[in-house]
């Protein structure tokens, strides 16, 4: 057939671009023991009058991010910042905790002293940082969470709302694709973050294991853990050495997944890899066929949703407790559309080059 | 016992005073395979100076460190007033009234003079608090009592070497010790301070203190000592009565082998002069430094040994360092073997044919943790290459080089790979000489080359120096031991506070030279005041 990006896209790719249905519930919080119901980000509508009111308020916002070493936080921040700018709210500070919970607590204290109206944050450890977030709330600052909610905080009371990607569904999708590609049988491994308290990654393990459990022929050989993504190379090398029959690995996000691919290549092993998330660098891996499938988040959209919940709250309007951004399925065939959907930019030349007219 | 050995018969052993204050009996000590002391007896009585002599590495410091509690002896007892205080800890021995001035200065450069003098027995208030006020007062009282030019509040870091040695003396003396061990206390004191020290020793003796005095300077020993003992081959010879023996005899007793092992004839080093007909090794015109040297001019002919006489702080070391390129702000016209020298660059100085034996061999002369052969090769690595396609440092050439000087200079060592730190002072100094002779210099600068070196090794140094000069090298000799200058130098320049005041062709005797220096200094001070 004679398909051509971006004008003529094969139906297969168009089909993949349809979001998967949301998992029904989110992280359990006070008031919602089974987790609050999920709604999509389309709930927000802004009239001109609302926008004028926001502008007149001269509101300020700050962002306390967990780590900056990937494309994901950058896109989130852009989503938040651009949307807020449109709405007339100023982002005055952004902190990077380098994945250290202690550092993030210090960041929050400093941001609190800066007295913004809203703080956006993704808690690294929902348990040990809860007190620090409660203090932010006590200082009269509105909190909007990304992905994780600190333990014991109630929506509508202690914080506005949380917007999360459907992480469990993302992982479930990626793991299922892995099993399918393996013909439903063989040994698999998981590479994920060592800290189980980091909710949004921990549920990916749950999602992946759920998918693996659905295939009687699939055997989970080992769950390897890393303290930081660059360690995945060594962990994967060891895992592949200890288990010579592993044919597929699910990695919890793209940076470690790249290291898993490198490890398999170095060992000369044929191993299928699926993961979550894409960015300009990991898109190359999809284009090359190194990642069989990706269940991706849409961090920019997530940021937009977070900004809008904050704006609603600043206007004194009600916000749903849990907003969920549905899974974006990514395979080589729809890579370009998906990458554009994630980054909101035209795919870079490097990706187009590697795709060699095979992605759309 | 050593006293029974035939060689001591002619030197009548003297008995100690009625009651020995401290006595060490049957002391043995080994470091690994090195048996330093074997069943040694030693004692000190109240009110005497007991001198301890011996070659470098004989074990004098080791014996005294045992007395001080730094080392625990392998066998033997130490008793003070009949009470066994056998080797527990320094603190214990200090509290028993034994104090020591260590050979390696043991001051804390980061603290004040007062802190150092009273270290370990600071006046306290309630709690563990230090009473700073009375501390300073007490320290200054001590300083003033002995009349040293020091202030309690000065940082030791800012003091010169000689002043540090004064602090060291005060620290030991002020402990009110009953036994005081002085391990080469005068090695860097100038004449005036030396006099002061001797006066102090006399006073302490009069107060009934027992003093052990270690030195390589015979004149001093014969002046101070009531008794003397010699450490040799792990044994103690003596005690001897100074009145009944002589420097010469003592030197013979100390030496393990024949007095001097170096044959001057074998030291030929000089590269032949760059251009024929140039007879000067060094010509200096208008040499100045920012802080010290004031317009120096002089020459050294090939084969000539020129001595520099001066008091501590007169700028002798500064002169040596300036010529060798170690003083960045030195200015002046200097030519070596007829070629102009660019000041401020040691590598240029070496290339021009200057060799420099510095005054502190442990700090400036040697890499103590490295092997003897790599120390000897350090300044002439460029000449020790061989090629296997690319230039490679030849370990064989280095070994040969070491072997060569090992024989010529009579270095006592077991292997080329032995560490420099394991050698005695005299042998260490020979290694430094070897390093510089290996560069085939035209000019040899020696700064206090015999400091802390035993009499026999001293003789070796002189022989080396003379041998080098005979083969056409110019030698600049700096020494605080004026008799060494008068004995070795062909010509002596007196350096007083950064200026050359006289040029003496005839070897004057020590006392005269000393008087001259002091007179010149006084004159200079007057002139500066005016």
């Amino acid at each position: 057939e004679d398909y051509h990006w971006p004008d003529k896209i094969p139906p297969e790719a168009t089909e993949l671009m349809k979001p998967l249905p949301l998992s029904p519930k989110g992280q359990p919080v006070p008031g919602f023991p089974d987790g609050p119901p999920a709604v999509t980000p389309d709930v927000f509508k802004f009239t001109q009058e609302m926008k004028d009111k926001l502008k007149a308020g001269h509101f300020t916002a700050a962002i306390a991010i967990h780590t900056m070493d990937a494309g994901w936080p950058k896109l989130q921040i852009e989503g938040i910042t651009n949307t807020l700018k449109e709405l007339g709210v100023d982002v005055v500070a952004v902190t990077d905790a380098k994945f250290k919970p202690g550092q993030q607590i210090a960041d929050l204290e400093q941001l609190t002293a800066r007295k913004p109206n809203v703080i956006f944050s993704i808690p690294i450890d929902p348990q040990s940082q809860a007190a620090a977030y409660k203090k932010v709330a006590d200082a009269g600052i509105k909190l909007v969470f990304l992905d994780n909610v600190p333990v014991g905080m109630a929506p509508g009371k202690d914080y506005i709302s949380v917007t999360a990607s459907d992480n469990e569904q993302n992982a479930y999708y990626a793991a299922k694709e892995l099993c399918e590609a393996m013909g439903g049988k063989g040994e698999v491994g998981i590479v994920t973050l060592v800290y189980d308290y980091y909710y949004s990654v921990a549920v990916r393990k749950t999602g992946a294991m759920k998918a693996f459990a659905e295939y009687p022929g699939i055997k989970l050989a080992e769950v390897g853990t890393v303290t930081s993504p660059e360690k995945a190379y060594q962990v994967a090398t060891a895992m592949l050495t200890a288990h010579p029959d592993i044919k597929g690995i699910f990695a919890a996000w793209d940076t470690p997944a790249e290291q898993v691919v490198a490890a398999a290549k170095t060992l000369g092993r044929k191993v299928l890899v699926t993961t979550n998330d894409i960015a300009a660098d990991s898109a190359i891996y999809v284009a090359r066929g190194d990642f069989t499938a990706v269940g991706a988040q849409r961090p920019y959209d997530q940021g937009v949703s977070e900004a809008k919940s904050a704006a609603y709250a600043l206007l004194g309007m009600d916000v749903p407790p849990y907003i969920s951004v549905p899974t974006l399925r990514v395979k080589k065939i729809n890579l370009l559309s998906a990458l554009k959907e994630v980054t909101k930019e035209e795919p870079p030349a490097s990706v187009l080059k590697v795709c060699n007219n095979a992605c759309f | 016992m050593a006293a029974d050995s035939p060689s001591t018969l002619s030197d009548k052993p003297v008995d100690g005073a009625a009651r020995p204050l401290v006595s060490m009996r049957g002391i043995s000590k080994s470091f690994g395979e090195n048996r330093v002391l074997r069943d040694v007896d030693f004692e000190v009585s109240a009110g005497e100076v007991h001198a301890l002599l011996g070659e470098n590495g004989a074990g004098k410091s080791t014996l005294m460190k045992i007395l001080m509690g730094v080392y625990r002896p392998d066998a033997g007892t130490v008793t003070l007033d009949g009470e066994d205080i056998g080797g527990t800890s320094v603190l214990d021995h200090l509290s028993h009234g034994i104090a020591m001035i260590f050979q390696e200065l043991s001051l804390l450069p980061n603290l004040t003079v007062g802190d150092n003098i009273l270290l370990g027995r600071e006046p306290r208030r309630t709690g563990w608090r230090i009473d700073k006020r009375s501390m300073r007062r007490d320290a200054q009282t001590v300083i003033d009592r002995y009349g040293f030019p020091l202030r309690a509040g000065q940082l030791v870091r800012d003091l010169g070497f000689a002043q540090r040695q004064m602090v060291e003396v005060l620290k030991a003396v002020s402990r009110g010790a009953r036994v005081l061990i002085m391990d080469e206390p005068t090695s860097s004191l100038s004449l005036r301070e030396e006099e002061k020290l001797f006066a102090i020793i006399d006073e302490l003796k009069a107060r009934g203190m027992g003093i052990v005095y270690i030195s390589h300077r015979m004149a001093e020993i014969f002046r101070l000592a009531n008794r003397m003992s010699i450490v040799k081959d792990g044994q103690v010879i003596g005690p001897l009565d100074p009145a009944a023996t002589s420097i010469r005899k003592v030197s013979e007793l100390m030496s393990k082998s024949k007095p001097a092992v170096v044959d001057t004839a074998v030291i030929e080093v000089a590269a032949k002069p760059a251009s024929a007909g140039v007879a000067t090794a060094l010509e200096v015109r208008g040499l100045k430094t920012a802080r010290k040297l004031d317009d120096l001019s002089f020459t050294i002919a090939q084969g000539e040994i020129v001595g520099i006489a001066g008091l501590v702080g007169s700028g002798r070391s500064t002169l040596a360092k300036a010529l060798f390129g170690l003083i960045p702000d030195a200015r002046g016209r200097v030519t070596v073997g007829g070629q102009p020298l660019k000041l401020g660059h040691p590598d240029a100085a070496i290339a021009a044919g200057i060799a420099f034996v510095p005054e502190d061999r442990r700090l400036e002369g040697l890499v103590l943790g490295h092997s003897l052969s790599s120390n000897v090769a350090l300044a002439s690595l460029d000449k020790l290459l061989h090629r296997i396609g690319v230039p490679v440092v030849s370990d064989r050439k280095i070994a040969d080089l070491f072997e060569d000087y090992h024989q010529k200079l009579g270095i006592v060592a077991r292997r080329p790979s032995q560490l420099a730190s394991e050698l005695s002072g005299g042998n260490q100094q020979k290694v430094v000489f070897a390093k510089w002779l290996a560069t085939k210099p035209r000019l040899l600068i020696l700064d206090e080359p015999t400091n802390g070196v035993d009499v026999n090794a001293k003789a070796d140094m002189r022989a080396i120096m003379r041998g080098a000069a005979d083969s056409g090298v110019g030698v600049l000799l700096i020494s605080s031991e004026l008799d060494e200058l008068t004995a070795s130098a062909d010509r002596i320049l007196t350096l007083v506070d950064g200026r050359i005041t006289r040029e003496l062709f005839e070897a004057k005797d020590e006392a005269e030279l000393r008087a001259t220096l002091q007179a010149d200094l006084a004159a200079m001070k007057k002139e500066r005041l005016a």
Binding site: I105, Q110, Q129, D196 | -
Partner: protein, 321 residues
């Protein structure tokens, strides 16, 4: 010489002392300049609440810097303080979970901090391993233990009395962490600057052999310094846990670098023998001000890193005359 003279020992006036301090520590001028810059240009910087926030943020670093000052003046280093504080946070959380009384549990943790320091000190002095390595190994061991003990799970602290005592309460208008900082700084100052022990710490770092020859039990001094450092790290861990009302295995990770930087830009020499407590505390506060000011100016964290690195190098370069 007469007795007269000896009593006429000069005493430095307060003014001379200040002037001398400024000449010896030109860094203080940089601190002042940077702070003034933020006060003028950073929005909302010159407020009491900002000052309070900075002090609270720097409390942890200040407290550990006091212990570290002893170790560094001894000529050693302690890289294990960050992970020792994480580990202490885990331990206190587990102890409180096991219903150990609020009055007892913190003391046990502090004792454990001393024990960690003791092990560091023994390895450094008796086995003569460089402290850089001993404490690097200890860092690994403690951070591994903190992760292992609950299998990376954080442990909540529900004992409010504990959190109040160490972090949340205020006394006479000052929040608890600032009080704790003051207490530790005073103890540290007393020990280092006023006691015989402190003098010996300087002696050990100034010239180890000389100190030994002067009858000082150098090993014991070093071990004590490590123990004190371990105790301050444990206290910092208690504060961290109280602040989070939970123990988390990586709460304190990476703090050691801030602590060492604070001590060094405060004028303590890495080679030992030189330094003091007030300098270290000023260093810690300065690092706090710098981080906070750059943040308030709205600079990105990565640029902040660059500027922070540059200023720290500059400060130390100025400290060596």
């Amino acid at each position: 010489m007469t007795v007269q003279q000896s009593s006429a020992v000069e005493r430095d006036s307060a003014w001379t002392t200040i002037r001398r301090t400024l000449v010896q520590r030109p860094t203080y001028l940089i601190f002042a300049a940077v702070t003034a810059f933020f006060i003028i240009f950073a929005p909302n910087f010159a407020t009491l609440s900002t000052a309070g926030a900075i002090l609270r943020v720097t409390a942890l670093v200040s407290i550990m810097a006091v212990g570290m000052t002893f170790v560094i003046i001894c000529g050693e280093i302690d890289l294990s303080v960050g992970s020792a504080s994480s580990w202490s946070g885990m331990v206190i959380a587990l102890l409180l979970q096991a219903n150990v009384p609020t009055a007892v549990a913190p003391l046990l943790v502090i004792a454990m901090g001393a024990l960690i320091g003791l092990v560091n000190g023994l390895l450094v002095t008796k086995l003569r391993i460089p402290s850089f390595l001993v404490t690097l190994g200890m860092l690994s061991i403690l951070s591994g233990l903190a992760l292992t003990i609950t299998n990376t799970e954080p442990v909540p602290i529900v004992d409010d009395a504990f959190s109040d005592l160490l972090w949340n309460a205020s006394y006479i208008g000052l929040p608890a962490p600032i009080w704790w900082t003051i207490v530790i700084v005073l103890i540290g100052y007393y020990l280092l600057q006023m006691t015989v022990f402190g003098r010996r710490v300087y002696a050990v770092g100034g010239n180890l052999v000389a100190a030994r020859f002067s009858g000082i039990k150098t090993d014991r001094i070093k071990i004590t310094a490590f123990m004190f450092s371990g105790m301050t790290a444990a206290l910092a861990g208690l504060l961290l846990a109280a602040r989070s009302t939970a123990g988390n295995p990586s709460l304190g990770s990476g703090l050691e670098l801030d602590v060492i930087a604070a001590v060094i830009i405060g004028g303590t020499s890495l080679f030992g023998g030189v330094g003091d407590i007030p300098g270290s505390v000023i260093g810690a506060i300065f690092i706090g001000i710098l981080g906070f000011g750059l943040l308030v100016l709205g600079l990105s964290t990565s640029i902040q890193e660059v500027i922070k690195g540059g200023i720290i190098i500059l400060a130390v370069a100025l400290n060596r005359r």
